[in-house]
C-alpha cells in the first residue's frame, strides 16, 4: 500500500519537479534494555514513514511532542541510523555514503534548532560561530570565509555586520540569536533546510519576522525546507504541503489549504479544534477534544494507533488492521479506514 501511495506521489510530480530527498518506509527503533543488558523491547519512534520532498518545496511536519518528529528529523540529519528503510538524497542512499560522503551531505543540509540560545556556543563570538562550518567545510582562504560570513549575515539582516561580529550570543535578543542560527545553517549554501520549531521559543511579534525571513531565503535560494512544528497556525503562511504525524506514523498528507479547510483524519480535526484564533467567543464554549494522551511508543495500540481516542472508530476494523493511505481527494492522502 505504501508503495502505491508513493507511485501516486511520483506520477503527479516527478515530471514537474526534481525530488531532493526521499524517505522510504523509514523505521527508527531504539532498543530498551533492562539492567543495562537484557532486551526489553523497542521504542518505535518512527514506524514506517514514507515521503518525497521536491526541489524548492516547503513541507511542514506537524505533531505533538513524543510523536517521533524529532527522531525523524535526526535520522534525516544523519545523527541516527535507520533501523530499516532508506533515505535518499539526490539519488544517493545515505547508508552508502562514507565519511567523505557524509561531509558532502552535511554541507548540503542546514539545520535550524529550536532553542537559539542553546544552539549557540556561549564562549564563541558570532564571527567564530559562523566561521566554524566554513573551516570544517574546507574553505581555507580566510578572506573567502569572511566574505561568506558577511553575505550570510546580510541575508538574515544582521546589519550592520560589524556591530555583531564580535558579540557573544548572550548579548543578542532572542530574534537576533535565531538569525545567527539561520545564518549558520545557510552558510554552506545548502539545498535542504531542516527547521525544528524555529519560532516556538520566540515572542509572538518576532515569530512572524523570522518566518518571513525563512520563506524569503527559501524563495531566493530555491531551497527545500522541512518545517517541523506543533503549531498549525504558523504553517499556512509558509508551507506547501503538511504531513501530520501521530505515534510514529504520518497519518495525513495534503496541500496546506486542503488540510486546513477539509481535514480528513480525526486526529487532524482534533488538532485544528485545539488551535485557537483570537476571538472572545472562545471563552464561552468548551472544546470537544479526544480523551486521553498519545500512546507509548513501546507498546503502540494495534491497528490504527489513534483508535483508542477516536470518536469515529469502526469496531472490528480500526483496532485490528493498520489503515493504509487512502486518497479521498486528489493529492490528499489519509491513513484512516473512514475513507476506504
Amino acid at each position: 500500500m505504501v508503495a502505491v501511495s508513493q507511485e501516486i506521489d511520483k506520477e503527479k510530480n516527478v515530471n514537474v519537479r526534481k525530488t531532493v530527498l526521499s524517505v522510504d518506509d523509514l523505521h527508527v527503533w531504539f532498543e530498551l534494555k533492562r539492567f543495562g543488558f537484557s532486551h526489553a523491547g523497542y521504542v518505535k519512534a518512527v514506524d514506517g514513514v514514507t515521503f518525497d520532498i521536491y526541489n524548492g518545496e516547503t513541507i511542514a511536519i506537524v505533531g505533538e511532542s513524543g510523536c517521533g518528529k524529532s527522531s525523524l528529523l535526526k535520522t534525516i540529519l544523519g545523527l541516527y541510523r535507520p533501523t530499516t528503510g532508506k533515505i535518499v538524497f539526490e539519488d544517493k542512499d545515505l547508508s552508502e555514503l562514507g565519511v567523505k560522503g557524509m561531509h558532502w551531505y552535511h554541507s548540503n543540509v542546514g539545520y535550524v534548532q529550536q532553542d537559539p540560545y542553546g544552539a549557540l556556543a556561549p564562549f564563541m563570538t558570532i564571527q567564530k560561530i559562523l566561521e566554524e562550518p566554513l573551516i570544517i567545510g574546507g574553505i581555507k582562504n580566510k578572506r573567502d570565509r569572511f566574505q561568506r560570513i558577511q553575505k550570510a549575515m546580510d541575508e538574515v539582516k544582521l546589519t550592520p555586520v560589524g556591530d555583531f561580529l564580535d558579540k557573544y550570543p548572550h548579548m543578542l535578543s532572542g530574534g537576533q540569536q535565531q538569525r545567527v542560527v539561520i545564518a549558520r545553517s545557510m552558510i554552506m549554501d545548502p539545498k535542504l533546510l531542516i527547521a525544528d520549531e524555529p519560532v516556538s521559543m520566540l515572542d509572538a511579534s518576532v515569530r512572524v519576522e523570522i518566518l518571513r525571513l525563512l520563506s524569503n531565503l527559501q524563495e531566493v535560494h530555491n531551497l527545500s525546507v522541512i518545517y517541523i512544528t506543533h503549531d498549525l497556525s504558523t504553517v499556512s503562511y509558509f508551507s506547501e504541503r503538511i504531513f501530520v504525524m501521530y505515534a510514529g506514523n504520518l497519518v495525513e498528507k495534503a496541500k496546506v489549504r486542503q488540510l486546513i479547510d477539509t481535514p480528513r483524519h480525526p486526529y487532524t480535526m482534533a488538532l485544528l479544534t485545539g488551535t485557537s484564533e483570537p476571538d472572545a467567543k472562545n471563552a464561552e464554549t468548551y472544546k470537544d477534544l479526544p480523551p486521553g494522551e498519545p500512546p507509548s511508543l513501546v507498546h503502540p495500540p494495534s491497528g490504527c494507533r489513534f483508535h483508542p481516542r477516536c470518536s469515529r472508530m469502526i469496531a472490528g476494523l480500526c483496532e485490528q488492521k493498520t489503515p493504509p493511505d487512502f486518497e479521498p481527494d486528489a493529492g490528499h492522502l489519509v491513513a484512516c479506514w473512514l475513507y476506504q
Binding site: 505533538e64 515569530r207 503549531d231 476571538d279 471563552a283 468548551y286 477534544l289
Partner: protein, 320 residues
C-alpha cells in the same frame, strides 16, 4: 476609586523596581487595573514587558534585588500592601491569592509524591490534618481532571499535561478567591493546551474563582478572557472588555500585536512589530511605544494620559 460590591481586586499605581548596576529596572511602573469577582483578566505583552514582575508584585514574592515597591492593592476593599510580612503570608499568599508559576510542571519536587506536594499548602494554611488534606487533594484532582490514584505517584511518572494539572490543583487546594496563572500552557502541546483551558473554564464556572492570566499568546488567551489588559514597558496601555478588544483593539501597540497573530483561516498575512521594546532601565520620555509606533505625532513626546473611550481605557494621545 469606587469600591463596588462585585469588585475583587483593584490595583492602584503599583510600582516595583529592581536594583541593578546600571540603575533601577522599572519592571512595574504605575499599574492600575480592576478585577471583578468571577472574571478573568488577561495580561498580554511581549517578554520583558514586566508582566511576570506584576504577578510577583501582587503576591509580594520579591527577589533580593527588589527596590522601590509601592502603590495600593485592594483585595475586597482592604489594602493588602499595608499588611506586614507575617499577616500577608498567613492571610493572603495562597490563602486568598495563589499562583501557578511559569513552567510550574517542571517545578514539582521530584522526590515527593504529587499528593503530598498538593496537600502541603492545605496543611500549612487550613490547619487540617493529613487525612483531611488528602481528601481535599482528591477533590481538587477531580476538578482538574487528574485520576485519583495519581496521588501516590512521583512527578516523573506523569505527562507534561498531567503535571500542569497537578500544579493547578496545588494553587486551588486552599480555595483561594484569585489564581494568577503565569504562562500556564506555553510549554505544552496544542491538544494539552486546549484541554487545560477547558479545565480552567470549568473551574471558573464551578468554583467561582477569578483569574489573572499572564501570557504572550493572544490566540489561546481568548479562551479564558473576560477582560484584557495590554502591558508595554512596565505600564498598562489598554484595558477593556475582551469581546470588544478582540474585535477592535485601540492602542497602536495592541493593534500591531493583534496583527502579528497567525490565523488558520483567511488570507490575511500576519505582520510584525519592527524594533524592540525599550530597556526598562533607560526608558524613553513621553510615550514608551512612540519609537515603534506608525501613528506617532508631535504630542507623543509627552507621556500620554489614560483616556476613557466608551468604558475602555487607553493610554494614547490619539484618543484625547
Amino acid at each position: 476609586m469606587m469600591k463596588q460590591d462585585n469588585n475583587l481586586l483593584s490595583i492602584e499605581n503599583l510600582v516595583l523596581y529592581f536594583n541593578s548596576h546600571q540603575g533601577p529596572v522599572q519592571a512595574v511602573d504605575g499599574v492600575d487595573f480592576v478585577l471583578n469577582i468571577n472574571r478573568a483578566v488577561v495580561i498580554l505583552g511581549e517578554s520583558g514587558c514586566g508582566k511576570s514582575s506584576l504577578a510577583k508584585a501582587i503576591l509580594r514574592l520579591l527577589p533580593r534585588n527588589a527596590g522601590a515597591y509601592s502603590g495600593h492593592i485592594y483585595l475586597r476593599g482592604n489594602d493588602i500592601m499595608t499588611l506586614n510580612e507575617e499577616e500577608f503570608r498567613q492571610n493572603i499568599r495562597w490563602a486568598s491569592i495563589s499562583m501557578v508559576p511559569q513552567a510550574a510542571m517542571n517545578a514539582l519536587n521530584p522526590v515527593m509524591r504529587v499528593g503530598d506536594q498538593v496537600s502541603e499548602p492545605a496543611l500549612v494554611h487550613l490547619g487540617v490534618d493529613k487525612h483531611g488534606a488528602i481528601a481535599l487533594v482528591k477533590k481538587m484532582f477531580q476538578h482538574v481532571g487528574v485520576p485519583e490514584d495519581f496521588i501516590s505517584r512521583y512527578p516523573f511518572e506523569l505527562s507534561g499535561g498531567m503535571r500542569q494539572r497537578v500544579a493547578i490543583a496545588m494553587a486551588l487546594v486552599t480555595s483561594p478567591v484569585l489564581v494568577i496563572l503565569d504562562e500556564p500552557t506555553s510549554a505544552l502541546d496544542v491538544l494539552t493546551q486546549a484541554n487545560i483551558f477547558n479545565v480552567l473554564k470549568r473551574l471558573k464556572k464551578e468554583l467561582g474563582i477569578s483569574f489573572i492570566l499572564i501570557t504572550h499568546d493572544i490566540a489561546t488567551s481568548s479562551e479564558l478572557a473576560d477582560d484584557v489588559a495590554i502591558m508595554y514597558a512596565g505600564q498598562i496601555v489598554e484595558t477593556g472588555d475582551a469581546g470588544r478588544f478582540f474585535a477592535e483593539p485601540l492602542h497602536p501597540y495592541a493593534k500591531k500585536l493583534m496583527a502579528s497573530v497567525p490565523r488558520l483561516h483567511g488570507d490575511k498575512q500576519p505582520d510584525f512589530i519592527s524594533g524592540r521594546p525599550p530597556s526598562l532601565i533607560n526608558l524613553p520620555k513621553g510615550c514608551r511605544f512612540a519609537d515603534r509606533c506608525p501613528s506617532r505625532y508631535e504630542k507623543c513626546i509627552d507621556d500620554p494620559p489614560v483616556i476613557m473611550n466608551n468604558d475602555r481605557k487607553v493610554k494614547c494621545w490619539l484618543y484625547s
